[in-house]
């Protein structure tokens, strides 16, 4: 609708009814306010048994969905220190098992066994024996008995894999009491067992 001729206006507002020199509302040069004032008050909400029941249903449904295993939370960040209240704040999430016949195979999360890569390292360290939780209790009683049972627990520890991780954490603490004959602090010794342990984790990635 651009004007072709020189200075010819194609659209004059007289047609739509605005006369010459009439008072027009000022043109706005900024966006409309976020909460514009309303000319009329809105109609009140429907009240009644049906509306209240549906409201209750909605809120209950929302609450129920939060407890079901379909509500996926990102992995909780690792805390620096274990706190007492963690025990009471832990949210129960049971994993659901979908019927894999109705799902594409690639969605199946293969359960990793992160301890698999740590087990080859076990036979290398004969100096750092694996201890069970029960050993800590016995340790408190007699120091001498521990040294004898330490060597036999080496074999037991290899079989009880789930407890390896905790055993590793307490390893360094135990060694100081173990090797009380040497002046060297075992925790300062790093034999590089952690290096390269993550290489097997992401099995899903194709290797090119």
């Amino acid at each position: 609708m651009a004007g072709r001729g020189r200075g010819h206006r194609t659209f004059s507002v007289e047609i739509v009814g605005i006369g010459k020199g009439e008072n027009l509302p000022p043109s706005s040069i900024q966006p409309t306010p976020l909460f514009p004032p309303l000319d009329q008050k809105p109609v009140p909400l429907q009240a009644g048994e049906e509306a209240e029941y549906m409201l209750a249903l909605k809120q209950e449904f929302r609450g129920a969905m939060k407890t079901l295993p379909f509500y996926i939370r990102p992995a909780a960040p690792k805390k620096d220190v274990e706190r007492y209240s963690d025990k009471y704040q832990k949210i129960e999430t049971s994993d659901w098992k979908p019927d894999w016949r109705r799902f594409p195979k690639e969605l199946r999360v293969r359960e990793k066994r992160p301890l698999r890569d740590k087990s080859p390292a076990v036979p290398k360290q004969t100096k750092q024996p694996r201890v069970n939780k029960e050993e800590i209790i016995r340790k408190l009683e007699t120091l001498e008995q521990k040294e004898e049972e330490g060597s036999s627990d080496e074999e037991e520890g290899e079989k009880k894999k789930p407890e390896e991780q905790e055993a590793e954490g307490e390893e360094e603490y135990d060694e100081e009491e173990f090797e009380d004959e040497t002046d060297y602090i075992m925790s300062y010794f790093d034999n590089g067992e952690e290096f390269g342990g993550d290489s097997d984790e992401n099995i899903d990635e194709a290797v090119y």
């Binding site: 206006r9 909400l45 549906m54 409201l55 016949r101 594409p104």
Partner: protein, 530 residues
């Protein structure tokens, strides 16, 4: 997908499934179709979380998967079904309808299936029986057979349907062979499966168990005889039911109770014979209607004829006459009824927003189609200045459009007609987008209010837990009041007002959803007839 629709989908997914699923879902909506690899790469989430999110979405029927563009040998592609996500807004309405039709048992069955996406019949029956037993007084328990009968009723009336099987689920014998998946662009319709509404023949006897407090964890999901047959809610059937309800209540508002009962009877008779997208029901003769009328309505035959002629003559055109045999053949005009209901919604919106005089102009333009400025002022009987003002306000809100009709080929302004007009369908679409934006705003405001008062809410929850445990161990009234006083009076008032606000926001969402349903049904009906 418009911005508002994507935003609303994201908020709904976040509320029900958490932030991770929301991220995955919104990205998939924006991109259309993606493979698992591409999705994980673009959202930068760990692969396991993406897999879990997709599992959740597929379980609830919101995501479909299929062989991609490279054929069955290529990677699987996923896409989100947005309509399904919007249905989450309507879940309370579905559950309430099931309750009103089939009682508490029906309500719990539909609720369980909605919560879990799809379930087998045996697991549904067991869970529902347990829940009902839990609420019954000591010593009583719910028998499985009652739950099974309600379940079968739901299936017979098509409110529940079997999940469509994957195309080649039965063909491969060994699990090692990769079964070819159906093409992603053509999802199998559940109704195309012949056994869609066939109940499996299983033997379910037993009673619901009362869950003791010592037992923890969910009830184990034992494999019944109907392993592999999953049931889902048939949303289309519920929507047809809502549409019928809307028509009946409109008739009862416009005319009277008896005419609405007549229309209800006509709709009930044509439930099974009318396909879902039909423009009108099958023709019914007045004799048939008379026979089918419940005796409780107490309508005599001549009175029925009078009511029918009244309905036919009504300008809303709910009922039409198609012939004279059998005392007169009558149909319910479904599409026209939906169009009229949508029109009434639009007029009501204009009235509530801009006043009754603007509504008068709007109705005028809807009836007369195209009017000049001068004609609008004359027909609406509104002084020129105010009419101009109102018209421009409506024009700026895009509810009214300007149409140019040139007299000469060179569009000279002095020789062109400028006419105001209203088009019902685009205006309905515009209002639908406004509704989506409204619900998004409501949800965001509710989340904001909850976040602001998080500390207070947590405190009150903890105190309730302490009170409950004290009461269970039998404490005295003095201890209870001491614990209750830990919440101060102004805090209590704040909590009360917070609860009031959240309830208001929630009921507003429910109400806006009713408008969304009406407008969406109207828009779908116009598309179906094309």
């Amino acid at each position: 997908m418009t911005t508002q629709e994507v935003r609303l989908c994201g908020l709904l997914l976040q509320e029900h499934f958490g932030n991770v699923v929301e991220k995955v879902g919104t990205h998939l909506i924006r991109s259309g179709v993606l493979t698992l690899r591409a999705l994980a790469h673009e959202t930068k989430l760990p692969l396991d979380l993406v897999k879990k999110s997709l599992c959740v979405l597929v379980q609830h029927g919101m995501c479909t998967f299929g062989a991609g563009r490279r054929g069955p040998a290529g990677p699987v592609e996923y896409r989100i079904n947005c309509e399904h996500v919007f249905h989450m807004l309507r879940y309370p309405r579905y559950i309430y309808t099931a309750k009103s039709l089939y009682g508490d048992t029906g309500e719990l069955i539909v609720e369980e299936i909605l919560q879990r996406g799809h379930m087998t019949m045996s697991s549904t029956v067991k869970t529902v029986a347990d829940r009902l037993t839990h609420n019954m007084p000591e010593g009583q328990s719910m028998d499985y057979s009652e739950v099974v009968s309600v379940f079968s009723q739901l299936v017979e009336t098509h409110f529940l349907q079997r999940c469509p099987p994957l195309a080649s689920a039965g063909s491969s014998s060994s699990g090692a062979v990769d079964t070819p998946l159906p093409v992603a662009t053509q999802p199998t319709e559940p109704e195309s499966h012949p056994d869609c509404y066939k109940l499996p023949y299983i033997n379910l006897t037993g009673q619901g168990k009362r869950r003791r407090s010592s037992e923890d964890g969910e009830a184990d999901q034992c494999c019944g005889d109907d392993d592999g047959i999953y049931w889902q809610v048939n949303f289309q059937r519920f929507h047809l039911h809502f549409r019928d309800q809307a028509i009946i209540s409109a008739v009862s508002c416009k005319l009277d109770q008896s005419s609405s009962e007549i229309v209800r009877t006509m709709l009930r008779m044509s439930e099974v014979t009318t396909p879902a997208h039909a423009a009108f029901t099958q023709a019914l003769s007045a004799n048939e209607i008379f026979r089918a009328l419940l005796s409780s309505y107490n309508i005599a035959r001549p009175i029925l004829d009078q009511y029918l002629s009244l309905l036919v003559d009504d300008p809303m055109e709910f009922v039409g006459k198609t012939g004279d045999s059998g005392g007169g053949m009558y149909v319910v005009n479904l599409h026209r009824a939906l169009a009229n209901l949508a029109r009434a919604t639009l007029e009501s919106v204009v009235q509530e927003r801009f006043g009754s005089r603007s509504a008068r102009i709007f109705r005028l333009l809807l009836r007369k189609r195209h009017l000049e400025q001068k004609q609008v002022e004359d027909f609406a009987m509104i002084p020129a200045k105010e009419a101009k003002d109102m018209l421009y306000k409506l024009l700026s809100e895009n509810l009214v459009q300007l149409q140019e009709i040139p007299k000469t080929p060179d569009y000279a302004p002095s020789r062109t007609f400028y006419l105001y007009t209203v088009n019902q369908l685009p205006t309905a679409r515009l209002l639908l987008q406004h509704c989506y934006k409204t619900v998004g705003n409501l949800i965001e405001r509710r989340l904001y209010e909850t976040k602001e008062n998080k500390r207070l809410l947590e405190k009150s929850q903890r105190i309730e837990a302490i009170l409950a445990s004290l009461q269970a161990t039998g404490a005295e009234a003095a201890q209870l009041t001491e614990v209750e006083e830990m919440i101060t009076v102004p805090e209590r008032q704040q909590l009360e007002s917070l609860r009031h606000h959240i309830n208001k926001l929630d009921s507003s969402e429910n109400q806006v959803d009713e408008t969304i349903f009406l407008l969406k049904s109207y828009i779908n009906s116009t598309q179906a007839s094309l």
